[in-house]
C-alpha cells in the first residue's frame, strides 16, 4: 500500500495492515466488526491464517459475488460471506468452546477505551441505547492474544488510551497490543506495562504523550 507522508498518522487500512503483521503462519484468528475486519485484506503472502466467526464458522471465505449470496452463510457481523475448502460449521456453543478454551490464537477488536492495565471498554455507553456485549466479552476472556485497533483520541479530541477506563468494561486486563492511528503499544505479558514500540509516520513521541492519558514505557 502507498504511504502518503504528507498525512500524519496511519489510515484505517494502514492500521489494519499493521495488525496483520501480527499474524503467524497457521494462526486461527477472529476479527471484530469495523476496522478489524479490514485486517483480513492485509495478511502477508505465505502466511496462512484461518478466520473464525463466533456464530459458528471456522474458515471464513471472502464476501460473495451477487450470484454466490447464501442467506445461510453469514459472519458474526451478519454480513453475507462464503466458505472455503477448509470450512467447518459448528454450533455457537462449540464455537465459543473454541474461543473460551483458548484455541483461537488472536483476536483483533475495536475499542472505545483501553486502560494502561489492559482493561478494555467497547460495549456500552451509559445513558445510550445498549445493544449488548455480543461475543466481545467471550473473545477477550478466551482468545490467547488480543489486539485492539482504535483511533488514538475520540472525535472530541480526548484520549482513549487512559489511566482507567471510564466506561463499563468488556474485560479486565485483556489487551496485549494497541494499535492506534498514531502508534503501536505492546506488552510481553499481562503482568507488565505497555511499551510504545512504533510511531506512525510524522508522529512524534511528544505528540503521543500529549494525546495519551495512560502511562506507558517508551
Amino acid at each position: 500500500m502507498a504511504t502518503d507522508t504528507s498525512v500524519k498518522g496511519w489510515t484505517r487500512d494502514q492500521m489494519a495492515a499493521r495488525a496483520a503483521l501480527e499474524m503467524h503462519d497457521g494462526f486461527t484468528a477472529n476479527l471484530g466488526i469495523g476496522i478489524p475486519t479490514l485486517v483480513g485484506n492485509f495478511i502477508p503472502p505465505g502466511v496462512d491464517v484461518t478466520l473464525q466467526s463466533e456464530n459458528g464458522i471456522l474458515g471464513l471465505g471472502p464476501f460473495p459475488t451477487e450470484r454466490e449470496v447464501d442467506p445461510d452463510i453469514i459472519n458474526a457481523g451478519k454480513q453475507t460471506i462464503t466458505e472455503l475448502d477448509r470450512t467447518s460449521y459448528v454450533s455457537s456453543a462449540d464455537s465459543f468452546a473454541m474461543i473460551r478454551g483458548g484455541h483461537i490464537d488472536l483476536s483483533v477488536l475495536g475499542a472505545m477505551e483501553v486502560a494502561e492495565n489492559g482493561d478494555l471498554a467497547n460495549w456500552m455507553i451509559p445513558g445510550q441505547m445498549i445493544k449488548g456485549p455480543g461475543g466481545a466479552m467471550d473473545l477477550v476472556a478466551g482468545v490467547r492474544r488480543i489486539i485492539v485497533l482504535m483511533d488514538h483520541v475520540s472525535k472530541s479530541g480526548s484520549p482513549k488510551f487512559r489511566t482507567h477506563c471510564t466506561l463499563p468494561l468488556t474485560g479486565a486486563n485483556v489487551v496485549d497490543m494497541l494499535i492506534t492511528d498514531l502508534a503501536v503499544f505492546d506488552r510481553k505479558s499481562r503482568n507488565v506495562a505497555f511499551r510504545l514500540i512504533e510511531l506512525a509516520p510524522g508522529v512524534t513521541i511528544e505528540e503521543v504523550r500529549a494525546k495519551t492519558e495512560a502511562s506507558f514505557e517508551a
Binding site: 459458528g56 453469514i74 455457537s92 456453543a93 441505547m129 456485549p133 466479552m137 467471550d138 479486565a172
Partner: protein, 235 residues
C-alpha cells in the same frame, strides 16, 4: 410410533403455549430463525413472554413481530436493538432485558439441556455481567458462575428432518439451534425439507430425535438478509 410430524405450526404448538412462559428460539440475527413457528406464536395471542434468543429480530421480521405486538416481557439475549420498537420499549422500561455474553448464553442453554445447573467461565469477570454473581478462583484466574437455562418451550429451525425428528442444520444457520433444541421442556422444530427415514447419514445428524417432540415442514423460509455484502464478480 408416536407421530411427531404435525400438520401445521398452529397444531404443532397446540397445548404448549401459556401466558408468562419462557420460549427459547434458535437463530443468529435473522439466520436460522424458526420463522414459521414465530408467526404461529404471534397468531396464538400468547403474551408476557420471556424470550431466550441471541438477538431480537428486526421490526417486522423474526422475534421482532412479537415485540411489535407487545407480547414480550423480557429478553435474555446477547445483542439486540437492531429494531426501533425494541429500543423504544427498552428505553421506556416496558421491556426487561438480561444481557448475556454470546458464548455464555450458548453455554447456558447447552448446560440447561445437559442437566448442568451451573458452570464457571472467565467471560465477564471484572465487568457488569459478573455483578451479583459468584466469582471464584480456579488456578490463577477468576471465573464467574453462570446457570443453565431450561425453557418451557424451544423453537428451532432445521434444514432437514427425517420422520423420527432427527435434524440437520445448514451452514451458519446452525448457530444456536442445537443448544436451543436441548433446553426446552418441549422442543418443536420446523424443517425446510422433510426426508425419508434412513436418508440422513447417522454420523452427521446434528440434533438427535430424542430432543424433538414435534416438528413441521417450514412454510416460511424467507431467510431475510440483514447485511447483504458483496464483492464484484471476477472478470
Amino acid at each position: 410410533m408416536a407421530e411427531k410430524l404435525q400438520v401445521d405450526a398452529n397444531i404443532a404448538l397446540e397445548g404448549l403455549l401459556f401466558d408468562g412462559m419462557t420460549i427459547a428460539a434458535g437463530g443468529f440475527g435473522l439466520c436460522g430463525i424458526p420463522e414459521t413457528l414465530i408467526y404461529a406464536v404471534l397468531e396464538s395471542g400468547v403474551r408476557d413472554l420471556t424470550l431466550v434468543s441471541n438477538n431480537a429480530g428486526v421490526d417486522d421480521f423474526g422475534l421482532g413481530i412479537l415485540l411489535a405486538e407487545k407480547r414480550v416481557r423480557k429478553m435474555i439475549s446477547s445483542y439486540v436493538g437492531e429494531n426501533k420498537e425494541f429500543e423504544r420499549q427498552f428505553l421506556a422500561g416496558e421491556l426487561e432485558v438480561e444481557f448475556n455474553p454470546q458464548g455464555t448464553l450458548a453455554e447456558r442453554m447447552r448446560a440447561g439441556g445437559a442437566g448442568i445447573p451451573a458452570f464457571y467461565t472467565r467471560t465477564g469477570v471484572g465487568t457488569m455481567i459478573a455483578e451479583g454473581k459468584e466469582v471464584r478462583r480456579f488456578g490463577d484466574s477468576d471465573y464467574v458462575m453462570e446457570t443453565g437455562i431450561v425453557a418451557d418451550l424451544a423453537l428451532v429451525k432445521a434444514w432437514k428432518a427425517d420422520p423420527y425428528g432427527n435434524l440437520v442444520y445448514r451452514k451458519s444457520a446452525r448457530n444456536f439451534n442445537p443448544m436451543v433444541a436441548t433446553c426446552g421442556q418441549v422442543t418443536v422444530a420446523e424443517a425446510e425439507i422433510l426426508v425419508p427415514a434412513g436418508s440422513l447419514d447417522p454420523d452427521s445428524i446434528h440434533t438427535p430425535a430424542v430432543f424433538v417432540q414435534r416438528f413441521i415442514r417450514a412454510t416460511s423460509n424467507e431467510k431475510r438478509i440483514e447485511r447483504r455484502t458483496i464483492r464484484a464478480e471476477a472478470a
